[in-house]
């Protein structure tokens, strides 16, 4: 069996992928921001002011995104760089792109066969809330909702094929 067979086997268990997606995000925030993501205990208002996206191509094709509000994004940048919040604004897009890139890389490295068989695009970061997205994917996105310093973030993976 080649490695893509292993990926397809795992791909049938989306609940397993959600757990891996959450673990990948938690590790990135622990190691790079010294911050523990927590699970929300109640319904959260979905954030949408900053959206960072990384495309995946190869054995898994799709888009991984990290969404949060600007206040949250600025605090992430501040913690990542070890600078004051008022110094973090200029680096916010770059930092959010890197976070998304690391979550995507960490996620694919946790799935047998994907590390070699899936490439990541450079990150794209959208700021602003007045936009809609269209995806060619047929499956519903995997979504993980977490809190970063009590502020909501959403990590989602749209699988195209």
């Amino acid at each position: 069996m080649n490695s893509s067979g292993g990926v397809l086997a795992v791909g049938n268990k989306q609940e397993g992928w959600c757990a891996l997606l959450e673990l990948a995000a938690r590790e990135v925030f622990q190691l790079m921001l010294a911050s523990d993501l927590t699970a929300p205990t109640a319904e959260i208002t979905l954030p949408h002011e900053v959206t960072s996206m990384v495309g995946l191509a190869g054995q898994l094709c799709g888009v991984l995104s990290v969404r949060c509000d600007e206040k949250s994004a600025t605090l992430m940048t501040s913690k990542m760089l070890g600078v004051e919040i008022d110094e973090a604004g200029a680096d916010m897009s770059d930092a959010l792109g890197e976070i998304c890139n690391m979550v995507a890389g960490n996620f694919k490295n946790k799935i047998t066969g994907l590390g070699d068989g899936c490439m990541l695009s450079p990150p794209t970061v959208i700021t602003g809330s007045d936009y809609t997205t269209y995806t060619a994917g047929e499956k519903p996105a995997l979504e993980v909702r977490l809190l970063f310093e009590a502020m909501p973030i959403v990590i989602s993976l749209e699988i195209h094929s």
Binding site: L31, L81, D91, E98, M102, G105, G115, P122
Partner: protein, 127 residues
């Protein structure tokens, strides 16, 4: 030992984080040079010798693996250890980087301790 380092990554945020991680790992940096891709890094090395290079793999213009391959033609890079820092964490990528001449490999996300574990032996073995 004071170290002159070249950090190569297309993300300026990541370059700052790598520099901070080196300092947190207790490595004394006397000069920090930065480049946004392999081609810029080669040009930087033509003018400035360094003791250590930390390099991403996925970059525009010239990626990290091509950069290492071309290092053999740069006088200032002779014997200088190169450590890759990348999200590409598969075994095949590690083998490929090491076969191209990298002295170490750090997967993002990383801790300063992981940086230290790779950098100290690489500097000790610098020829």
């Amino acid at each position: 030992m004071p170290v002159r380092v070249l950090i190569v990554d297309d993300s300026s945020v990541m370059r700052k984080i790598v520099e901070r991680s080196l300092r947190q790992a207790g490595i004394e940096l006397t000069q920090v040079l930065e480049a946004g891709n392999g081609a810029e890094a080669l040009a930087t090395l033509q003018a400035s010798p360094v003791d250590l290079i930390l390099c991403d793999i996925n970059m525009p213009v010239m990626d990290g693996l091509e950069f290492i391959k071309q290092l053999s033609g740069v006088v200032n890079a002779k014997g200088v250890p190169v450590i890759m820092i990348t999200t590409e964490g598969s075994e095949a990528h590690v083998v490929q980087a090491l076969s191209c001449g990298a002295r170490g490999y750090i997967r993002k996300p990383f801790t300063p301790e992981q940086v230290k574990t790779q950098v100290i032996p690489a500097l000790a073995g610098k020829s």
